[in-house]
C-alpha cells in the first residue's frame, strides 16, 4: 500500500508536466478564443469571451486557474455539442471499455497458446510460421485489416454488420481488428519469456525427475511465464488507446476514440483536452496497477 501511494505521488509531476505542455500549446500558439468560437463569430464576441475567460490575465495566473478548473473536471463546453465536455467524454466511456475488453480477450486467446507453442517447438516449421505471422500482424496497419474484414465478412458474406454498436455480433469485427495487432506483440513477448524460463535450472530438474513434458510446460514453465505476461498486457494499454481511435473510426463505433478524432478534426479543444486527460490518467493508473500485480505475483521482486 505504501508502495502504491509512493508511486501515485510520483505520477503528480508527470501529470503537471503534461498539463503545462497542453496549456502552453493551447494558450500560447495562436488565439485560444478563435479555437473555441465558430469561425463566424464577430470581433466583439471574441473580445468579450477573452475577457470572460480571463485570457487577459498574466500567464502564471491563467495556468493556475486552468489547473484548478481541471481538478474540478471543468474542461469547458464543447462548441460542437454545446454541452459540458467532461460529461460528453464520460458518456462515451462504456462503449470504449467494451471494445477494449473484447479486444484484450481476442489478443489473449490468440497469443497465449501460440506463444507457448512456438517456444516449446522452437525453430520448428510451426515456430517459423507463428513468428512470421506475428511480424506480419505488426506490419499490417490495423485500419486496413478492419477494412478487409468488412470486405470479406460483412460485405461479401454478410455474416457480421458493417459498422455501429449493438449486440455481440457488432463487437466481433472491431475486436478482431484491434486485438490482432496486440496479439502479434504479445505472442512475440510470451515466446521469449517462455524460452527464458524453459532454459532455467528448475525446468531441467523437473525434466530429470522424469516428469512428462506436458506437465513441465503447463505447470512449471507456464506459471512462471505468466508473471511477465501480466506486465506485457499492461504495456499494451498504449497500443490499445491508439487502436481504439482507429478501430472506432473504421467501424463507426460510438466510443471515446471516435469522439476524440472528430474533436481534433473540428478543433473542439474542450473535448480534446477532457478526453486526453481522462485517457492519460487511465493509462498511468493501469500501469501502476500492473506494476503492483507484478510484484504481488513474484515476491522475489523487491520494493524500492
Amino acid at each position: 500500500m505504501k508502495y502504491f501511494l509512493q508511486n501515485l505521488l510520483k505520477t503528480i509531476p508527470v501529470l503537471l508536466l503534461i498539463t503545462l505542455i497542453v496549456f502552453l500549446l493551447v494558450r500560447v500558439t495562436g488565439d485560444p478564443v478563435s479555437l473555441m468560437l465558430p469561425e463566424t463569430a464577430t470581433d466583439e464576441e471574441r473580445e468579450s469571451l477573452r475577457e470572460a475567460l480571463g485570457f487577459n490575465d498574466p500567464l502564471p495566473v491563467q495556468y493556475f486557474t486552468y489547473l484548478s478548473d481541471l481538478v474540478r473536471g471543468d474542461f469547458g463546453e464543447s462548441f460542437r455539442y454545446n454541452t459540458d465536455a467532461f460529461a460528453l467524454v464520460l458518456e462515451r466511456l462504456p462503449a470504449t471499455f467494451e471494445l477494449a475488453f473484447a479486444s484484450m480477450i481476442v489478443a489473449i486467446i490468440i497469443s497465449i497458446p501460440l506463444g507457448i507453442l512456438s517456444a516449446v517447438k522452437r525453430n520448428s516449421f510451426l515456430d517459423l510460421f507463428i513468428t512470421g505471422g506475428a511480424v506480419l500482424g505488426k506490419a499490417m496497419p490495423s485500419f486496413w485489416l478492419g477494412i478487409m474484414l468488412i470486405l470479406f465478412l460483412a460485405v461479401n458474406t454478410q455474416i457480421f454488420p458493417v459498422s455501429g454498436r449493438g449486440g455481440l455480433l457488432y463487437l466481433v469485427l472491431p475486436a478482431i481488428t484491434l486485438g490482432t495487432g496486440i496479439a502479434a506483440e504479445m505472442t512475440r513477448l510470451i515466446r521469449s519469456s517462455m524460452l527464458e524460463i524453459l532454459g532455467q535450472d528448475f525446468i531441467r530438474t523437473a525434466r530429470s525427475k522424469g516428469l512428462k513434458e506436458a506437465l513441465v510446460v503447463n505447470k512449471h514453465a507456464f506459471r512462471n511465464a505468466l508473471i511477465p505476461v501480466v506486465t506485457i498486457m499492461a504495456l499494451q494499454t498504449s497500443t490499445l488507446v491508439g487502436g481504439t481511435l482507429i478501430t472506432e473510426t473504421v467501424f463507426a463505433w460510438p466510443g471515446l476514440g471516435q469522439l476524440l478524432v472528430q474533436a481534433v478534426n473540428l478543433r473542439d479543444m474542450a473535448v480534446v483536452q477532457a478526453a486526453t486527460f481522462l485517457i492519460a490518467i487511465f493509462v498511468i493508473l493501469s500501469n501502476l496497477i500492473a506494476d503492483l500485480t507484478y510484484r504481488l505475483l513474484d515476491p522475489r521482486i523487491k520494493y524500492d
Partner: protein
Amino acid sequence: MTSTIERTAIAENRNYGKRLGKLGKRLLKSKTGLVGLSIVLVVSLMAIFAPFIAMYDPAKTDVVHRLLPPFWAEGGNMDYPLGTDNLGRDVLSRIIYGSRISLLVGISSVILAGIIGMFFGLIAGYYGKIWDFIIMRTVDSFLAIPNILFMLIILAVLGPSLTTLILVLGGTSWVVYARMVRSETLSVKERDYVRSAKAIGAKDFRIITKYILPNVISSFIVIATLNVATTIIMEASLSFLGLGIQSPDVSWGLMLSDGRQYVATSWWVATFPGIAITVTVLGVIFLGDWLRDILDPKIKD
C-alpha cells in the same frame, strides 16, 4: 603512452571499410535481410523516379473512368492495371507517388527525433546531475502516456499539414533515443580510454564526438531503422483519420480512407494501398532486424 591508448581507441572505431565488406557478405547469408533490403530499395527507387514510372498524374481526376476494376477483373483493362478510384484517379500511379510521402515522413521525422534524442541523451549521460534529472523526468513523462495523445493535442492546435506531421512524429518519439543514448553513454564514459583522454585534458566536445558517439552509433542506427517502420504506420494512420496528409497530396493512408467508403462496391481502392503499406513496413522491419543481429547483438527486442 596516452597517445597509444588514444590511437587504439580510434582504430577500434575506424575499421569501417573492412566492416562494410563483412556486412555485405553476411547480408547475402541472411534471407530476410536480403528481402528487407530489396523491398526498401524498390520502394526508394519508386519514390525517387515516381514521375517517370507512373503513367498518370496521381491527382488527375477523370470521372468517365471512375471506379474501374483492375485488369484481370471483368471490365478492367491494362490502361489502369490496378483500377481507378471514386474520382477516376489511377490507383497504381497513386501508390507509386504515395511511396514518396511514406518515406519522406518516415525518414525525416526519424532524423528529427534522432537528433533531439541524441543531443539530450548525450547531455544527460555525460554531464549527469541536474541535467540528467530534468531530462530523464521529461522522458518519463513522455513515456507515461501514449504518444498519440500528444500528437492529437498538437494537431488539434496547429492543424494538419505535412510539416506539422513531421514535427509531431519526430517531436514525440525522441525519448526512445534519449534513453538509449544516455544509458550507453553512462557505460562508455567509465571506460579507461575515456578516462585517460580526460586525464590528458581533452575537451568535452572532443571526448563526446571521438569516443562516445562511435560507441553509441550502432545501437542508434538499429533503433532508428525499426522506428522508420513505426513512423510509416503512424503517418498512414493519422492520414487515414484525416489528421495527416491532405488532398491533393497522395498518401497511402489517405487512399485507404477514400477506399473505405467504396469497399462494398469497389474492393480494389482500399486493398492495394494497404498491401503497399504492409510490404514496405515488413521490408523495413526485416532490414532493421538484420542490422540488429549484425551491429548490435546485445539488444534483443
